[in-house]
Subunit: 411 residues, 2 copies
């Protein structure tokens, strides 16, 4: 795919997979079913992850999805790029946001009266502008509907997540060769991330939750893993300053330190989440025992999770298994830092459904989640394992496939 002129820069990376039309059509049809069930006339999609999901592009614009009929992408910047990236047939250039109601009315024979918006992510100011623009219309929140619909992935999406998972596997295969005694966590992370970039890691990790932020994951050595922080995650890390307050620090990785290698891979927008353990020298016995416990908790979840099982049942199985290991206090964090889930959906965002917590949501074929049984041990740090799994017809299957043995690197 190119912009036509052979001397011009391509607007789309030649190796990139464009979202196929049938993918987008199926997704839009499912959204339209929801709009019908909620008696909405249309949805207007704005947020990058959702826009990409329903249109194949994140070029600035508004995706108008009527309850019946073809969706229109009103594209602003860059219109030609949107046309190259998106499989949608109806892409209309829009001059300014204020022209949107008229453009919709013209294209769709009138204006919707009840419009669904992503109110879970749309800032109030943005929302009020739309309210003023669509005077007389009423608005409903379709954010949670979209989140629910996006939780079930197509085979095409699972292939994308498989590619992200393969990136995580490959980066971890290279990691032991990069680890040296005395490197700071920050320096080691830099070496690892350089490999990830070369292999096609896209950097930007989208999160839906307000104030949630993530940069490549958490690479935490020794006791660092026990430093909890503001995030809705079991681990945080000291970080380089209170301004960011997570992730690597300038602590040197020392002999007998282990490295919790929690790595978020992003390829073509899709995310895989992954944790393995490296150790500089021999992994201390107490940590080794806890790591084996994490593998057993993972095994319990693996035999529990399948379509029709609730997230609550999976969480209960994991929690019970952790208790049986005698490690309940440090399971998924300690004290204030403890979180009440053992896994979370991944896809175009890092914080998707299903959340493996006390929730009635049932697992369904096509869902994809990261399962991350982890323990925080006072003074020793954090340890655990994490794979990205997809729910098959009969159970769950790992997309991340790197061997789970602790990799001991000679100091």
């Amino acid at each position: 795919v190119s912009s036509g002129d052979e001397h011009a820069a391509p607007l789309v990376e030649p190796s990139a997979r464009l979202t196929p039309l049938d993918e987008v059509e199926r997704r839009l049809a499912a959204l339209q079913d929801t709009l019908a069930a909620r008696e909405l006339d249309a949805a207007l999609i704005l947020q990058n992850a959702d826009l990409y999901y329903y249109s194949g592009t994140v070029q600035q614009g508004f995706l108008y999805v009527p309850v019946v009929g073809a969706a229109t992408l009103f594209a602003r910047k860059i219109v030609d790029r949107a046309r190259l990236e998106s499989p949608l047939r109806d892409i209309v250039a829009l001059g300014a946001a204020r022209d949107l109601p008229e453009a919709i009315a013209e294209r769709h024979g009138g204006l919707a009266q009840r419009i669904g918006l992503e109110l879970d992510v749309l800032p109030v100011t943005q929302f009020r502008r739309l309210e003023a623009l669509f005077a007389g219309a009423t608005f409903a929140d379709v954010g949670p509907d979209i989140v629910r619909l996006r939780a079930v992935k197509s085979p095409w999406e699972i292939d994308r997540i498989r590619a992200a998972a393969a990136l995580a596997d490959e980066v971890f295969r290279l990691a032991p060769g990069l680890l040296e005694e005395g490197l700071t966590e920050a320096a080691f992370a830099g070496c690892v991330e350089a490999e990830a970039r070369r292999l096609g890691h896209e950097g930007v990790i989208r999160m839906r939750g307000f104030n949630q932020e993530m940069f490549y994951g958490q690479l935490l050595s020794g006791a660092s893993g026990a430093a909890a922080t503001f995030l809705d995650t079991p681990l945080g890390g000291t970080g380089l300053s209170p301004a960011i307050a997570q992730g690597v620090s300038f602590k040197p990785i020392r002999r007998r330190d282990h490295v919790l290698f929690d790595f978020v891979a992003v390829r073509e927008g899709y995310i895989a989440d992954f944790t393995r353990i490296l150790a500089l020298g021999r992994l201390p016995r107490e940590l080794a025992r806890a790591y084996d416990a994490a593998l057993r908790v993972q095994e319990v979840v693996k035999t529990t999770a399948r379509p029709g099982v609730t997230c609550a049942a999976v969480w209960a199985a994991a929690e019970t298994a952790a208790e049986k290991e005698g490690l309940a206090a440090g399971f998924m964090g300690r004290g204030e830092g403890k979180v009440r889930f053992v896994g979370h959906g991944v896809g175009l965002e890092l914080d998707e459904l299903p959340v493996l917590t006390r929730s009635d949501l049932e697992l369904a074929e096509g869902m994809v989640f990261a399962l991350e049984p982890k323990f925080v041990l006072p003074g020793l740090g954090a340890i655990g394992v994490e794979n990205t799994w997809h729910v098959t017809a009969v159970g769950i299957e790992a997309l991340t496939r790197a061997p789970e043995d602790v990799v001991e690197v000679a100091p």
Copy 2:
């Protein structure tokens, strides 16, 4: 600063500079003046960048700022970490968000009736929860006020940005040694970013604008610089896929390619923005001419910008200078990709005030902005220069200081 136990992980990186109490007090006093002028009883600060600015921590919580009297940080996760990070004296542990009104009433002798919120960034769902929680109160948008107040930096903040600028300078000093013919943009970026991480780059680049995203900046070689995208920036890049649609691609950097090295540095939460030019071999003549033009546009702005001058005057001076160079068509992008500013404020977010555009805002001492005269040349890519400047009493002074000569690397 440590959490007390010598075997525990520090919650604050020992080298990190905590925000001094007098900084926070002065900032809060200025916000209180604004609250008084707007006849608001209080502000409730939630968003990470603002929370850090006014409290020195991003630990989960609500910062309650009454129009008169001491602010209270109602901290949720992690309370001990908030206490270590924040210089505020009044930090109260809050169990759940629903307990907030009662906790405020108890601490402040009653509930505010008119409350300022960051409605420019707060999602609608979040806002509605607060509306329900504070039944009877009315809410006003203080987001734009905070943005305006944050635009003027203290000497302490300018020192922080100076440290970020020094990081950008140092990374660029190392960059020529990392450039090799045949490396993809992605691989070269990885090498550069590894150095940045080692030196303390924090990764997360906060942006206030909805849907705006950035990962280290834009490292674009040859014609890549001409690939415009959705961002409110003059350049975009092909990117690795339409899902992210910006930044580096798998294009190899070839003999005679130049590299536009647009690099965003983050240290202790503060940002510096920076662009220099590398070339593999000799920079083609047309690009060299445009680069010299960019330097002259920068020089014109440098002699124009000082306290009391409007952003519009600076923008007009830059635009006129670009026209005189005969390069108006490609100035700050081409066609749809053109943006109507030549610079933007930086601080805790990449997209701050002042925006050097047709705006009445006057420059004031203490403001910090990135000035980025750039040209897009069809088929050749983009070229230009960018420094981060602070407004002094009499003019502007560069915080980024790397030499501005094009660095030609032998292929």
